[in-house]
Structure formats: structure tokens, C-alpha cells
Subunit: 317 residues, 2 copies
């Protein structure tokens, strides 16, 4: 093993050495990690995600620290969407020569800080040389047996909600591309929204345990595309009130409907349930209702139109 | 979401649709997978691995079906090394345009066939465009509480063993690089050894449950490098008899000591334990002993020399 790889692994082990907790019986350094089984009556949640250079980010505009935060935030957001609690994570890195050193240190710091604030240790990983930087993450979580929130439980009559404000990430990305200087850009609220998504872990648990949410998912590819997935999985349709969609300051309705990476939660509650207006200062807004008839209608002053995914997506030709 | 990605995900879901089993409560298609907790008294094993174009393989010589097999085999080999049983896996793919179509189908078939023969379902994944093909895998396994075989348990006086024959993979890779035509190359035994590693899952369970192995790991980077890791983790040294190292037919001692990707098991047994000579036709060979004094000596007719990792490694500058 070349000195450089040993050094990187040593750095990672050292960084997370204080993060071991009672769930981890054996962490980094053996063939596999060994973790305690979930408590009796709990199930295991598993999700995987990746960020790839020139697909999910470009070096010129994306600070490495924010990128390290984002790869973990994306996995945590999936756990949040199930109403779960995160347990630990694994990280694979493909490293071009340019990334080794200060850039990688900053990337790892970003992941480390979020792992600390959410109290989940890194328990394993893999490092290899690559021509483009890429990181793949697996986050393990847990949820009470049979209680995880899925996309499949929305029922006609349920009210449809979103947390927070939408479109901020798309607005931030547009601004980041125009602005020069990451330092200057990072002071912009929308840019911060794009760079530093905040996984809604506490909200997910609240919706599952206290609100009896019938379905939930996180908004990663835009409300139009993600709602189409939720309604398809539930075998229902939906009607959205355009005027009710909470817009991030400065964002357009189109950015709110089709911009991705907001990482807010989209969820449904039975009609009789009335959630608080905010949860830990995060607005919870009713934006429409679930109906039996398939398809999604967007209702506005000018009439009713079909809402079709236009698609924020990474997978471009 | 563009039609191409939907098509690929649909293909993957269809391929593994019959593979769902009682462990999987919710598979591909939601924010996370949900799996049953391990049985009472079992712990969770987690390992992650990756294959990256031009780092771990080149398109010209590596059949995609073999590559799909190998990415899963590498993860399963880690589970085998702990004496664990595999439960399920997740797969992330970075796909260049050239890989989409017949090549990807063959890659997926290779992973699928091994997942079927080892009875583990795919429960989640991520697909994105990338400039270079890359796959990252996470394999989840289980082992009885406190019983997983680690690298840290070797004690002075223990006898050191390897399964199978070593150096075949390095020999096969050398031959594959020389030969033209993957079809012709695949009939060579050493090439097959390199392309189609066989994770020693049953052996791992046998060593843990029946032999009371004190330590184990899989040989991924060569005996010299991997034994250095095992002795370091156990705080011991070792002495190897060069004449005892089982050579793959045609392989040199150097390939057996320093060639990677054999995916055999390296393990230690207390002196009083006498394992069978073969386990399901796989030779189990004593190659040396563990001692208290650090360092690894290679004993041969010509004398004693220090065995230092020369290092098969992917991570090249």
C-alpha cells in the first residue's frame, strides 16, 4: 500500500476516532465493520447515494467542505424521509491526484462535522485512485418495526404538505454559476441553501411518531417529479394550489416546482390531523390534497393545468 | 427523470424482482430499503468496496459480466473473512454513455448471478452519469454476537493457514494483458481466477463455527501486505515457510506473496486444532506460525529473509 493511501486512511481513522459509540463494536480497519443489532422491535434502514465530479458538482464553484457535507446530508435526508434515526455510515472515495491534500481534508471536515452533529460514526469505507473525484455513501438507520414512512401510504382525502420553502437550492445554484468567488457566494442565502442542505431528521421522526403521517419522501429532484413518484407509489393522484407553494425568497414558482436538491420533506396527513404551523421554526405548509384520480393538477388563478415533471436531473447526456 | 435512467432502473428492478426474500421488508424504489433486524443474538456486518474504470479494470480486457461478478465477490469476500453470512447489498453506478446498453446489461447479469447463488437481494442503489464507469457496493451481513472473526485475535503459537492456491489472480492478469480476445483468454484457468473470484463464504462460517479460528482476513492485496495487516492488528509477528505456500499452477512465489485479488482466506488456528486438509475440495494449508516478536520472516532453503509488502495495489500515481 503506497504511503499516500496509508496517510489518507490514517487521517480518516484519526478524524473519526472519537466518534465511536456504543452501537459500533468494530469500526474502520477490519474486513467489515460490526455494529450492534437495532433495539428489539426496530428494523434496519439502508440507503446509498453518490456525488460525482462534473455530474453533481464542478470544482470551480463547489467548496469541498460543502461537498463533504452534502454527500452525507443526502443520505441522511433519505433516513429522515422514512421517519428513521441514523445509526452509522460508510464512505467510498475515488481520488484524482489534485484532490489529495487540502481539498480532501476540507471535504472530510464537511462530512465529519455533519456526522458529529447527527451523532453517527463512520464505520467503513474504501479509497482508490480515480480520474474524476467521486464519493459514494451508505447510511444505515433504524425505525420501529412496521412504522417507517414510505411513499406508498397516501390515501384520497389526505392533505399534502411540504416543510420549509422550495426553490432555494435551484436559485442558489443559478447564482453560484454567475458569481465569481466562492467566498462571496457563500454569503448569499440561496447559495447557502444549495451548498449546505439540512436533513430534516427531527421532523421525520415527529411526523412518524406524533402526526401519524400516511406517507413521506424527501424532495431531491423537485416537487413535480417527486410528487409524481409518491402518487404513483400510492396509486393516487393529487391537486396542488400554486398560491400555497412556499417559495424561497427570490425563487420562482418554476424553481419551486422543478428545482431539485431542496431536501425538504413532502408528506401526507389524514384530513383530521392538524400539524403545527412550524416545527422547530421550520414552516409546515399544506399545498394541496390527495385524490383517487391519477395525475397531478396545478390549480392557479389562471385555471387548472397538468403538472408534469420537467425534471431537475443529474443524468444528462 | 430522463427515459434512459427510468429504463435502467426498471431493468434493475425487474432483474431482482424475484430475489426479494423474507429479510427484505421494502426493497428498491423508496427513499431507503427496510430490512428485518438480524435474529436475536446476531450482530450486523457492513462493508463497502468499489471498482473504477482505469484503476481496477480496463474496458479492453475486462468482460463486463466478470466485472459485475467481481464487485459483488469483493464485498462477499469481506463478509466471508469475518465468518459472517451475507444478507443483502446496495449498488451505486456511475455510467458513461458507452456503458449504457449491452455492456451494462452484462455487468448487471454478472452481479445478479452471484447474488442469486449466494441468495442475497439487491435492496437499493443509485444511478448517475459519470465520465468513467464506477461501481460502489455495500454488503450487509450478520454474525453471532461477539463471534465475528477479526484480524486482531492471532496469538503467539497459533498456526497460520491459507485456503486454496495463491498467485493465480496475478498470473491471470498478466496473461490477460498479453492475450488478445477475451473469449480466448477466458479459457485459461489463471485468467478465470482473476476474472471470477469465488468468495469463501462457507469456509468462513466453518472456521468461525467449527474450527475456533482466532483470526481471519481475505487476501485482497497479497499475502505479504495482508499478513502485515493481520499481525499488526493482533500485535504479533509471523514466520512463513516459503516451501509451504501453495502456488497456483504456473504462478511464481513472488506472485503468491505479492499478487493481489486471490480472495482466499488467511486465518490462524490454535496449535491444538487440526483442520481437515480440504474443505469442500478447497485445500487448507499451514504455511507458518504466529510468534510474539514483530515482523514477518520468510524461511526458505537459502535462509531467512524479512518479508516486506511490495504491494499489489490499485492506488497508483
Amino acid at each position: 500500500m503506497p504511503p499516500e493511501e496509508i496517510e489518507i486512511i490514517g487521517k480518516i481513522e484519526k478524524l473519526w476516532s472519537g466518534a465511536a459509540n456504543s452501537k459500533v463494536l468494530l469500526g474502520i480497519g477490519d474486513d467489515t465493520a460490526v455494529i450492534r443489532p437495532p433495539r428489539a422491535g426496530e428494523e434496519v434502514l439502508l440507503t446509498t447515494d453518490q456525488v460525482i465530479e462534473n455530474t453533481h458538482f464542478v470544482r470551480r464553484t463547489h467548496p469541498p467542505r460543502a461537498l463533504g457535507h452534502k454527500i452525507l446530508a443526502r443520505g441522511l435526508s433519505d433516513i429522515a424521509a422514512m421517519g428513521g434515526r441514523p445509526v452509522c455510515f460508510l464512505l467510498s472515495l475515488a481520488l484524482p491526484q489534485w484532490s489529495v491534500g487540502a481539498w480532501l481534508n476540507a471535504f472530510l471536515s464537511g462530512a465529519y462535522d455533519l456526522s458529529q452533529s447527527t451523532e453517527i460514526p463512520l464505520v467503513g469505507g474504501d479509497i482508490a485512485r480515480g480520474e474524476r473525484f467521486a464519493a459514494a455513501i451508505t447510511v444505515v438507520g433504524s425505525a420501529p418495526a412496521g412504522k417507517a414512512l414510505t411513499r406508498a401510504g397516501a390515501r384520497p382525502g389526505d392533505v399534502l404538505y411540504v416543510s420549509g420553502q422550495l426553490g432555494g437550492s435551484a436559485l442558489g445554484l443559478a447564482r453560484l454559476r454567475k458569481l465569481s468567488g466562492a467566498a462571496r457566494a457563500s454569503r448569499d442565502n440561496a447559495v447557502r441553501r444549495y451548498l449546505w442542505p439540512d436533513p430534516r431528521l427531527r421532523l421525520g421522526v415527529f411526523l412518524r411518531a406524533k402526526m401519524g403521517a400516511t406517507s413521506a419522501m424527501d424532495l431531491s429532484d423537485g416537487l413535480a417529479m417527486d410528487l409524481a413518484r409518491l402518487t404513483k407509489a400510492s396509486g393516487v393522484g393529487a391537486e396542488i394550489q400554486a398560491a400555497q407553494v412556499p417559495l424561497f425568497p427570490g425563487a420562482s414558482l418554476s424553481q419551486a416546482l422543478h428545482g431539485g436538491e431542496d431536501y425538504e420533506l413532502l408528506f401526507t396527513l389524514p384530513k383530521k390531523v392538524h400539524p403545527p404551523r412550524t416545527f422547530r421554526k421550520l414552516p409546515l405548509t399544506a399545498i394541496g390534497r390527495i385524490r383517487a384520480r391519477p395525475g397531478i393538477d396545478l390549480v392557479s388563478e389562471t385555471g387548472i393545468q397538468k403538472l408534469r415533471p420537467q425534471g431537475y436531473e443529474h443524468f444528462r447526456g
